[in-house]
Symmetry: C2
Subunit: 281 residues, 2 copies
């Protein structure tokens, strides 16, 4: 697999890169960012995957995420994929919706037309991109963790629950925890996966836990001034599922915080420390 | 004076605000950002002014500057003005240049037409905006400092050198230190101030020092991979002027760093600690 370098910038003693490659999974060019902290030659480093929310590209967290200081200190590689395929030939949404199509891949492999060819973000994020970066960066693939925001929190939780042996830690900022039960998720799962509710359950953190998926422990931060809290996010559903399943969940309601990167960046270093502690050794 | 709130976001325990007001100085609406860190009611806090570089608005540093963690820890208010007047009636540049007109006010009061009415960023940043924010935020006006990047580093240095009693600290990232001697500066000073070189010297840090201006000490970080270093920035001219004048200058050449916010953000917390130490008491 080949990869083009879009940009490289020295930052916090390491290198913030942006890269592009032709993706087999999506049939499009895909852009992603990788921060490699300062490190000794020959060392392999743990990697944290960050999945972004609706409307985002790799750039939002790369510019606004305040993650580099902590990654430099903790010795973490930080990877941010895009949130959907993009390009002139990629079907978007007839209504130019912000919550479906471009910028809204929901980390599933679509089975419905016209999306099935390109909207394969599950395969992209769990298979193709990990293989690509393992070849190109000093990554210790035995030490991976995952986190995300909103739609990306949904992605992080579902991917971790279905790959508990691959990821040593998982956390989320304001995640969509039960897409089968909220408007954003119902629209996306129906649009990409059709009406088969069994298929939806494999992409719904709460349903996965109800159906037996387990993870050692989870961390979630949620702002209590988040406009999407009651209708789209509903962290109480995750709390309830984790309690029933015996999964330790640290769910923190952060007073006054909204859904923005001003919220995410505030708690980013804290999440990265939590990940680093679980990625050691 | 009245002020409209554009946005408020909780961040690092404080509040990141963006505000708009009708400016007397520029004859336009002006937008700026203010971060107020967590603090006890009734306390007045020191304030750090950040002046941005060419093409920027308040938003660049507000989103990419990595300043809030340090400001929250150190108890600093952080204010970021815009870099020029803007609006349908504001003369820009016939060539849509990035280095003159909109986004490129150079922190001077223009005397040349058609710029003299609106391009009054010196008065705006040193007089009008300080008065406005002193009324609206819990600022201790006896504890102010100033820093900036590139064109904004030029602004910070010239403003500090002409107001050594007002600012307790001044620093810069990759500043234009001698605009009278470099293409960006010559174009701007001639365009805004005309051919009177005596007027230019009041907006040139090196010339101000040569002409007797003093400041207790200065801190400058400069990336050695900065594309603008040799032609536009020339920190050696500041070094030489400071040495002759007996002004202690800490000039750090940072290996591998460019002119971007990836550079600025890396050293932002360090600058803020340096400011905070001088703003105490």
């Amino acid at each position: 697999m080949t990869m083009q370098t879009v940009s490289l910038n020295r930052s916090y003693g390491g290198t913030q890169g942006v890269y592009k490659h032709a993706s087999r999974a999506t049939g499009t060019d895909m852009t992603f960012s990788v921060y490699v902290p300062p490190h000794q030659d020959g060392v392999r480093l743990p990697v944290v995957w960050y999945l972004s929310g609706l409307t985002c590209t790799h750039a939002n967290v790369t510019e606004k995420g305040d993650f580099r200081a902590a990654c430099a200190e903790l010795g973490l590689i930080f990877i941010a994929p895009d949130t959907s395929p993009r390009g002139a030939d990629v079907p978007g949404d007839a209504n130019n919706a912000y919550d479906f199509g471009l910028g809204a891949g929901f980390y599933v492999d679509a089975t419905q037309e016209p999306y099935a060819r390109n909207y394969r973000m599950w395969s992209y994020v769990t298979e193709e991109l990990p293989q690509l970066v393992a070849d190109q960066f000093p990554i210790d693939s035995n030490r991976q963790s995952i986190l995300g925001h909103s739609m990306g929190g949904h992605g992080a939780l579902t991917i971790a629950l279905r790959h508990p042996d691959r990821y040593r830690a998982a956390s989320a900022f304001a995640p969509i925890v039960a897409p089968s039960q909220v408007p954003w998720g119902i629209k996306a799962l129906r649009g990409y996966l059709g009406d088969d509710k069994a298929a939806w359950r494999k992409h719904d953190a709460v349903a996965l836990i109800e159906d037996g998926a387990r993870f050692p422990e989870l961390l979630v931060d949620q702002g209590d001034a988040d406009n999407f809290l009651a209708e789209q996010l509903r962290p109480e559903l995750l709390q309830s599922a984790c309690t029933k399943a015996g999964i330790p969940l640290t769910l923190r309601h952060q007073p006054g915080y909204d859904h923005s990167y001003y919220f995410i960046s505030t708690f980013m270093a804290d999440h990265l420390r939590w990940h680093a502690a679980r990625l050691k050794g």
